[in-house]
Every structure is written in C-alpha cells, then in structure tokens.
C-alpha cells in the first residue's frame, strides 16, 4: 500500500516538505534572531495552499482530462466558508461592536443574521462546509455537464462562466458576503490570536499537512483501479464508454473530490492571508492555476504542487523587483510551457535524468 503511494518523486517531495515544516516554524519561533521572519511564514503557507489547489486541479485535468477554468471558485468558496466562521469569531470586537452581526451587515443596516450564516459560529460546522459547499457545487455542476457530455473547450468555457457568475454575485452587497470588500479584519481562530507568530506557524504546519494529505489522497485515487479508468477517459473517452464504464460517474466523482480539496486549500488560505474577497473568483485567477499545473508537469501531482510554488514565488519576487515585467513573464510561461515543455518542468527533469542514467549502461553494452 505504502509502496504504491510513494514513488521516488513523491518521497523526495514529501521529505523536502517535512524538512520545511519543521525548519520554518523553528526558524521563526525558537532560534534566536528569527532567521525566518513572520511574513515569510505566512507567505510560504500561502504557497502551500496554492500547491494543494494545483494538486486538486491536476487530479481532474492531468488524470481525467477535465480542464476546469473555474477551480478558483471552489477555492474561494472554501475560503468564504472559513471566512464566515472567522467573522463570527470576531463577536462584539468589531468596529460597530454588534455582538452578532459582522461589521458590514451593521453598515448595510441589516437587522439579523441571514439564514445561510447560521451555524458558522461553530468551527467544526464551518470546517464541514469548507468541503460540503464546493463539493455540492461541483456535484450539481458536474452532474449537469458530464451527463450531457459537455467536453473539451466547451466545458472549460462554462466552468469559466461559472466562476465569473459567482464573482459577479459575490460582488453584490445584497448577497450577504461583504460585497467587494469581502470578509476581513479577522481576530482569532479557535481562540488563538491570528496576529501571533505561533498561530501563523500553526497555520503553516496545517497547510503543509493538508498538502501532504491531498497529495497522498490524489495519489491513492490515481493509482487505484478507478484511477486507471480516469486515465482511460482522458485518453479515449468514447472508447471507455463503449467498454461499459459509466464515464460521467467517474468524472463526477473525481470532480467533486477535487473541488473539496480546493475548498480545503481556500479555508487555510483565508486565515493565513487575513482576507477573502470576490477577486478570488475572477476567471484570470482560475486560468493561472492551470499554468501552475502545466508548468510543473501535468499528471504528476508532485509537479503540479511544485509548479504552484515556483509561479507564486516568482510572482512575489518579480512584482517587487520589476513590476512591469511580471505579466510578460507569466504570459511567457504560458507560451513556453505549451510549446516547449509539454511535460512540464518535472517531466523535463526526469527525462533528463533518465538520459543521464541510461548512457553509462549503453556504454557498457
């Protein structure tokens, strides 16, 4: 079982992740002089949530051929679900001091909590919703789309329409999610102060654990018999259907799992960053997730996670050094990866390694 899940690349990645998970909090909290500043902890934690999101997308796109241009929506929904809990945790400490209503509702002159906010004062209910809401949306959306065999670019475009529609909806004040300001000004989570270094380190560890768990789950699914069917669907959908598999059921399953994973990523992202707003639903964000996966290596899981971290890191660095160049770099990445690196960085590196390893053997023969 364990051998099936952990191949070389997974082992290497998990080892590095483990070292990071131990080293970063240590460097931030224990070692004198704080070699790892607090903002770096939050930044790295954010990268890890991106990585989990990329893994979620790789599961559907890399293994099942569903190019979702709306995965940002699942991420954002997870983020909003957690954000709602954090808003409720503020309690009477808001600017207006209302014991029940979040500030923006007081501002809008609302008198009571809308029904869909009920229950979010409990962390565990929110944690459940983090997966249930994106999962339910993915189920309904996928059930309609896959059953009527919407595939390829048509599917991509309507997933884009889905996230676009959600973005427009969440921008509306009347929706009850804070309009274009989104949810922010969080104070604490499970009683821990969100501004405290220890909480931030804890969230970082949570992100790392979630990423590792997501990777292993995705790996478990893709190496199972079901995973084989998924790949078959990706490569020859009609043939798989003719062989007697219910293609739409497989697709639906993996789509929902992936959406839940994205929701978890969003839920850890929100407390780390301190805000969730409708901009997260923008179609451009969702397309960027695709490039993380493509850059790292589609259908490799580990590569997708790496791709997310590489792109996010270069965004941080480039936008601070040469803000003008960032979009050129990102655009260039899109073009370069599709033209030159169809297997992504991980694919290219592994191919390189194989060539190096084969050469001595060929020389011996």
């Amino acid at each position: 079982m364990l051998a099936r899940l952990i191949d070389t690349r997974m082992a290497v990645f998990l080892a590095v992740l483990f070292v990071l998970t131990v080293a970063v909090p240590l460097g931030n909290l224990v070692i004198a002089g704080q070699p790892v500043p607090s903002y770096v902890v939050a930044l790295l934690g954010k990268y890890l949530t991106y990585a989990l999101l990329a893994v979620a997308l790789d599961l559907v796109w890399g293994y099942c051929g569903i190019l979702s241009l709306g995965h940002g929506a699942f991420f954002a929904l997870g983020g909003y679900a957690m954000g709602m809990h954090l808003m409720r945790e503020i309690g009477p400490r808001g600017v207006y001091g209302d014991p029940v209503l979040p500030d923006f509702m007081v501002f809008l002159n609302w008198k009571e909590l809308p029904w869909f906010w009920l229950g979010f004062d409990s962390f565990w209910f929110a944690a459940l919703m983090v997966m249930v809401v994106p999962g339910a949306l993915a189920f309904v959306f996928g059930w309609f789309a896959f059953r009527s065999r919407v595939t390829g670019v048509y599917l991509s475009i309507i997933t884009q329409a889905m996230t676009y529609a959600l973005m427009l909806a969440f921008f509306r004040n009347e929706m009850g999610f804070g309009g274009n300001n989104g949810l922010t000004d969080f104070k604490d989570i499970l009683g821990f102060d969100l501004q405290a270094d220890t909480t931030r380190a804890g969230l970082f560890v949570a992100a790392a654990v979630a990423l590792a768990a997501g990777l292993l789950l995705a790996r478990y699914i893709t190496t199972s018999k079901l995973g084989k069917v998924l790949v078959a669907i990706r490569d020859a959908e009609s043939r798989t259907r003719f062989l007697g598999y219910r293609v739409e059921a497989f697709k639906l399953f993996v789509f929902v799992v992936s959406a839940m994973m994205a929701g978890v990523a969003g839920a850890i992202y929100t407390p780390l960053v301190g805000i969730i707003n409708p901009g997260e639903f923008s179609p451009a964000n969702s397309i960027e997730i695709v490039i993380w996966v493509a850059l790292g290596g589609r259908g490799t899981l580990v590569g997708a996670a790496m791709g997310a971290i590489i792109v996010a890191l270069s965004r941080t660095l480039l936008t601070s050094w040469f803000p003008e160049l960032w979009l050129f770099a990102l655009g260039g990445m899109f073009i370069l990866v599709t033209l030159v690196l169809p297997q992504g960085i991980l694919g290219a590196v592994e191919a390189g390694l194989r060539r190096v390893r084969r050469r001595p053997r060929e020389a011996a023969a």
């Binding site: 390829g152 475009i157 329409a161 009609s238 050129f328």
Partner: protein
C-alpha cells in the same frame, strides 16, 4: 450709486426720451427708415417696436411687463434678441443720449450696439450706462413672451420649440396666441405640437366641458410622459375624472409598449457589441477549433489604434476629426490582423489538435499584449472622442436612440454581411469552409491548409480590431478593455454554436435582448448572472450550441 444719481430722470417716467430732443429725433428717423424694412405688423403706428423699446428704460416693473407683452405682439424679428438681452441683464440705457443699447454676451471688454438699429457703438462702458432692470416675475413674463414670439418665427424648428415651451408652461393666457399660431401653421409637426400646447392651456383655463374633453383626447393621442403629467392633476376633477382616467390608462399602456421597444433597442445595441466582439472569435473557433483567449486584447489593440489615429489627427490635421473612425477602421483591421497572423505563425500553428493547450498559450499572449499596451500607453483610460455624427441622440416615438449606438449596430451588421459575403462568395471563403468541414479532405484537394489557417486567424483578429474601433466609442479605452468582453463573447460563441456566423448573430442578439429584459426586474448584475446560468443550463441541452455543426468534423 448709479441708482441715486439717476433718480431725477426716473421721475420723468415715460417721457424720458422726450426730454432729450436729439434722441427723440434720432429715434423717429430710425422708425421711418427701419419701418420700411420691418414686417408689416411692426408698422402699427402707435405701438411701434421702436417706441416700445425706447420706453423700456422708464416706468415700474409692471409697466415694463406691459411693454414686454406689447413688444412680443409686434412680432418684430428684432424682438427676440432684445427680450433675450433683457432677461440676461444685457440691456442698458446710455446716459449721454438715453439710447437703449444691447451689450454683447461675450468679449472682454464687451462691445455694445443699438438695441433698435443694431448699429455698433463701440466698447461698452458700464459707468456711462444704466441697466434696464428685471425682477423674477418680469423674467417669467419675458420667457412667456419669448415663447409666443417664437411661435411666429419663420423657422419651423423655432416654432416647434416655442410650442413645446408653451406645452410645458400650460399657461391659459397663451391660448389666444396659440390659436392664432395654429390657424396660420402649415407644418404638420408644429401644428400637432401647437394643438397639444393648446389642449394643456384649455385644461388649465375656464373653458367649457366639451372643449376640455376634446383637449383630453388630444393629450391622450400624444401619449407620452409629459401628457401624463399634464393630465394627472385633473384625475380628481369631478367633471373630467372619467375621461382623464381612460386617457391615462391608454397612455400608460402606450408607455409600457414604448418601454418594451426601448428595451428591445437596448438589447439590440448590446447584442451588436457582443456580435462585434464575438464574430472574430467564432471564425477562429469554428474553422480551426482554436480558442483564442487573446481575442479581447486584439479588440483592445483596435481601440488603441483609434486612439493613436485621433491623436495624430489632433496634432496635425484637426479638420479630419470627423473622419477619424473611417481612417482608423482599416488601420485597426491591419494592425490586429497582422498581430493575429504573427500569433498564428509563431505559436498557434504548433498546437493544432490540442485545443486546451492553445487556450493556455493564447491566454499567455493576452497577458503579454495587455502589459505591452500598459507599458506603452500607460495604465489609465485613454480619451477617444466621438465624431460629430456619432454624438447626440434622437427621439423615435417614445424612445431615445443615441447615434453612436445606432452606428455601432449598423457597423456590426455591415461587418456581418461582409463576412458572410467573404465566406460564401470568394475563393478564400470556399477554402475556409472546406477546411472547417473536413481538414484532411481539404488538404487532399490541394488546399494549403496552413495558409488558410493563418489567413483565417488573421481575419478573425482583424475583425476583433474593427470591434475595437466601435467599442472605443462607448467604452473606456484601457489595457483591461479586452478582459471585460472575453467571457461575454465566449458565451455568445458557445450559445450560438461555433463555426457558424448565423449562430453568432442569433447568440449575440438573443443574449443582448435577454440581458436587457431581465435588467429592469433583476438589476444589471443579477441579470448578467441569470444569463450566465441560463447558458450553462442551455449547454446541457445543446452541448454544441444553437446552430451546431453536424457530421464528422464534430467528433474530431
């Protein structure tokens, strides 16, 4: 100061001019000279225009009001300018010779001229003149007088305006003048306006019931919001309530109908914009199966080309400004088309048969184009002006139509027809259709599919550029211009069915009209969301759009 010093002559009242023999003689002489030029009414001896004007400076406000009414009745062509100057406070009496002078509205220092002869009297000196004062009640009377005066103007436009003003004021005192004007009116449009103004005046007057009933009928026929406003005060009038209620109901029904027509127009207008943005996309998607995510940026390039053309015209040939769009259109087509061909040859060519990869690569291109434009032109909105023939609006029945929207609709249809012609009647169109239907077979028949692809992509891109020229007239020209249209234009293509121009047409106008009809109920944002949800559901029913391609090409 001026007031106290002038108090003595003011005691002389209307005899003012008579005290100065020179002025009096001069005025008389002018009366004789100008009397020959003036229209016949003005020659009425006792109340001549000249004597009335000369009397304006003296007397109380109520005397002045009477004079104003008399001046208006002369129907003298000079009266209008004079009364306007009076309300504006530009009418003065020169102290030296008691002549009434009109001060020019502009100029520094302003010039002045004789109010009666129009003779240029040089630079206006405020200290040497006394203002002919007006108060608010006088101003109101002057306005009415101006209105009545215009009723007899020789220009039909002026008469129409006067009739509309009379309608708005609804003063029963105008009744006589309106009757006179109505009997003399030959222009049908003006006559209707006069009759409507008369009807309002009758309603407000103390005339008999029968006439009022007739007036209500006239207003009912007018049937717009103003008629509604004119009628509604009489809703509770016991004698008229029945007729008014009937008229109001009929007006409301008509209003609803026009409101619907206006919505259809807004929908068509939005549809034309969507059509322009989507039609290029439909071609590349249909023929090559390529999703061009950079299409929005090609639209943006077209808009920036328009901006550049207008800048060049502004600096070197301002006279050509009205032609700027006609100059910009072919240039935008060439610029965007060239960029399109470069994209195709450089990137898209290597990705055929991999539509999802093409989608990503073109998205990368779109990011780079956006940033390039932002670096060159700056991140802010650029000002693109409307030529004269694109600005303003006109009324059609109960709806308002702006010229720029109308031209964009016409332009979109022209592009559509042009494209249809290209596809149906030219060799290139034939080849494009062949490649769309069966690429390998077309290649076997000797069609250079690579060349067709490049040209098709260039054509789609060029049309995006044309769309940019049109959109620059109604939208902000900024680096983000393209992004705001990309999702919408994809919706059009997906809804209409790829590769089919008629599909794009039907899709664009259906979505446009649907959007505008939902807006009054749901608000703009919710309407858009509803349309998106509708499309997502629609795709389930018809996964390949309204006008789906059939045959082998579909599975490829």
């Amino acid at each position: 100061m001026i007031f106290t010093r002038q108090s003595a002559p003011r005691g002389g009242e209307a005899a003012g001019p008579g005290r100065c023999p020179v002025a009096w003689a001069l005025t008389l002489a002018l009366v004789v000279i100008l009397g020959l030029l003036a229209p016949p009414q003005a020659r009425a001896a006792s109340d001549s225009f000249e004597s009335l004007v000369a009397a304006l400076a003296g007397g109380s406000y109520s005397d002045r009001a009477k004079l104003v009414a008399k001046i208006a009745q002369t129907g003298d062509p000079r009266a209008l300018g004079l009364l306007e100057a009076l309300t504006d406070g530009r009418l003065y009496q020169r102290k030296s010779d008691k002549r009434i002078v009109t001060v020019a509205a502009s100029g520094k220092p302003p010039g002045m001229s004789d109010a009666i002869t129009g003779e240029d009297l040089g630079v206006f000196n405020k200290r040497a003149a006394k203002k002919v004062k007006v108060n608010n009640s006088l101003r109101r009377k002057i306005r009415t007088a101006i209105g009545l005066l215009s009723l007899t103007s020789s220009d039909a436009q002026d008469r129409l305006k006067a009739a509309q003003a009379a309608f708005a004021s609804g003063d029963p005192a105008q009744l006589e003048a309106l009757d006179a004007a109505l009997s003399a009116e030959s222009d049908r449009g003006v006559a209707t306006a006069l009759a409507e103004a008369r009807a309002v005046a009758i309603l407000n007057s103390k005339t008999g019931l029968a006439e009022k009933q007739a007036a209500i009928t006239v207003l009912k026929q007018r049937g717009d919001r103003d008629a509604q406003a004119a009628l509604s005060p009489f809703r509770d009038d016991p004698a008229l309530a029945g007729a008014v209620a009937v008229a109001l109901r009929s007006i409301e029904e008509r209003q609803a109908l026009w409101g619907m027509a206006q919505n259809v127009w807004y929908g068509l207008s939005l549809g034309s914009v969507l059509l322009l943005a989507a039609i290029g996309l439909a071609i590349t998607f249909g023929v090559m199966g390529v999703i061009n995510m950079a299409h929005g940026e090609l639209v943006m390039l077209g808009a920036y080309t328009t901006f550049a053309v207008q800048e060049a015209i502004r600096t070197s040939a301002p006279g050509l400004f009205d032609w700027s769009l006609l100059i910009a259109a072919p240039l935008a087509f060439v610029v965007a088309g060239t960029v399109g061909v470069v994209i195709e040859r450089g990137v898209v060519r290597h990705l055929y048969g991999r539509p999802l990869e093409t989608l990503l690569a073109t998205w990368g291109i779109s990011l780079m184009l956006q940033q390039a434009v932002r670096s060159i032109f700056g991140p802010n909105n650029r000002e693109v002006g409307n030529p004269g023939w694109m600005s303003g609006a006109f009324e059609l029945g109960g709806m308002t139509i702006t010229w720029n929207r109308l031209w964009i609709l016409i332009f979109a249809l022209m592009v559509f027809v042009g494209l249809l012609f290209l596809l149906r009647r030219t060799a290139m169109g034939l080849q494009m259709r062949a490649v769309t239907q069966n690429r390998p077979m077309a290649a076997e028949m000797g069609i250079n599919t690579g060349r067709v692809d490049a040209l098709t992509f260039g054509l789609g891109a060029g049309i995006g550029g044309l769309a940019g020229v049109a959109l620059s007239q109604i939208d902000n020209v900024s680096p983000n211009l393209g992004q705001s249209y990309i999702v919408d234009s994809f919706m059009v293509v997906v809804f209409g069915g790829a590769g089919n121009l008629w599909g794009a047409l039907a899709g664009a106008f259906t979505l446009g009209v649907a959007n505008k009809f939902l807006e009054p109920f749901a608000g703009a944002v919710l309407a858009k969301i509803l349309v998106l949800v509708f499309i997502i559901l629609f795709i389930q029913k018809r996964p390949r759009g309204l006008f789906a391609l059939r045959g082998r090409a579909v599975e490829a």
